[in-house]
Symmetry: C2
Subunit: 276 residues, 2 copies
DNA sequence: CAGTGGTCTAGACCACCAA
DNA sequence: TGGTGGTCTAGACCACTGG
């Protein structure tokens, strides 16, 4: 059972991606769309909310929605002026953060050849910080190396909560998709993730595994994942070889009242209405 | 005029952040919240949608909403097992990507001392790729160095579209917040952003400006920003010194029908219902 | 099976933008 | 000032979760 608003969103999305609705053009009004699709206005609003969340359209109270310009996926050109040092040659594959995806899911969706294997794996008692994050007990620490198109691109250092450890240990060392395997085995769903992204220098182990020089730049993603119920599953430190992948994110100012934010700016320091 | 649903969201958020609603606990049902706040169910749904977008609560059809565990901002502990090479010592400041913020906005909100100055600035004709992204004509290329707590942390190489170039040229070289200055000057709002994040080695210019060794890791953020109308404003290549900042993102599987995604997984390759 | 969230309707009023 | 999106109501039915 597919929701009506999803179908409408699909239809509008196709129009945008196909170029029928070019960047900068205006969408029909909600009232007109409601008439055209034969639904209530609320349903149309749900549909366009999807597109807004995807960063395809922008909206402001009082003005028609506009189609936003979008870079062709994975080929965002070098923004750097000529002064920039020699960047990575080919446009790197990019991984969207709009939804939570495992490495395998992402690679498969992008049509890449990928693999991976466990390098090291052992149980140990949770440290204080880990216990706070994952719950106490005997956590499972796993070191994995993953490849893309035959090349090693990612070193994953993952700590699994005690309650999933047995299921993880039961997996083969060359398991393609841990996420899928755990779902098949015990119905586990990685539902929510929190990510911290920064850059680090390759350590000696990183360097050896990825085939780069020690100290060379790596893109690091520290991640904590939970189930639907909010139960922590794993906490991971993933390091990508520079140039192999990039993360992509789309953003807008303010949650919905886009204009308000601009006014807050004027007040200089002012008081912040969100404490986050 | 603050919307009712915002107030309800604020109230619930405070309960979560204060610990009154601990991670893993269930939220009251929509019906009960509607009664408690004296609003219709739809209004309650808007409120919890805000919290869901912030990653504070999760929801699934048929089950009560749950409060998700959240890492204390800016202090996500080292997820890496002991095998990891010596990471950055202090927890780095983290910048959320939930909303679009300028460096100045972010630094100010975090209570940091910050500054910046223009190193180089010149007009030149747009290249082909730039013209496609920003519109043609004479773009303005600016090299800025920005500091946090007195330390240089960020090299910004920005290309401004021709139509904003005059306003940017009119700014003082040590302008604190370009975003705010441009708003004050010509009412320009940076409304939407698209970001590509990866790691690169410091070039010689980067190294000199940031006070690091050539080849040392930098966190790179390539960004294209547009107005509310979707008109491109700037395109930038920002490079952060490793350890100075991290980007933080919260995620969930699937847009709303969280369970469906899990089922799709089972079908292995299967057909993908979203072409994105 | 009862309770819950997900979808949808058909109205209403308001704040805002552009002409 | 007219059209637009933002908010809100009071209902309805359905799909799903959990005991």
């Amino acid at each position: 059972m597919v929701a009506r608003y999803e179908l409408i969103a699909d239809d509008l999305r196709e129009g945008i991606l196909s170029g029928a609705r070019p960047a900068g053009s205006q969408l029909p009004s909600e009232a007109e769309l409601a008439g055209r699709y034969g639904v209530a206005r609320g349903t149309v609003r749900q549909a366009v909310a999807v597109l807004a969340a995807e960063g395809l359209v922008g909206s402001r109270q009082g003005a028609r929605r506009v189609v936003l310009p979008s870079t062709v996926p994975g080929t965002m050109p070098d923004a750097a002026p000529s002064a920039a040092p020699g960047g990575t040659p080919g446009a790197a594959r990019s991984q969207s953060f709009a939804e939570l995806h495992s490495f395998a899911q992402w690679a498969r969706a992008g049509g890449h050849r990928f693999g991976g294997r466990v390098i090291e794996q052992r149980r140990r008692r949770a440290g204080a910080a880990e216990a706070a994050r994952l719950g106490g007990g005997e956590v499972l620490e796993v070191l994995r190396l993953r490849t893309l198109e035959g090349e090693p691109v990612l070193v994953e250092r993952t700590v699994y909560a005690a309650w999933v450890a047995p299921a993880v240990e039961a997996l083969p060392a060359d398991c393609e998709s841990v996420t899928q395997a755990l779902y098949d085995a015990i119905g586990l769903v990685f539902a929510y993730g929190e990510h911290l992204i920064d850059a680090v220098a390759a350590g000696s182990q990183d360097a050896r595994l990825l085939g780069v020089r020690r100290g060379s730049p790596l893109l690091r993603q520290r991640r904590t994942t939970t189930t639907h119920e909010g139960r922590p599953v794993e906490s991971s430190d993933d390091r990508y070889r520079a140039g192999s992948v990039a993360f992509s994110i789309r953003n807008s100012i303010g949650a919905n009242p886009l204009a308000r934010q601009a006014l807050d700016l004027r007040s200089g320091r002012g008081e912040h209405m969100f404490d986050s």
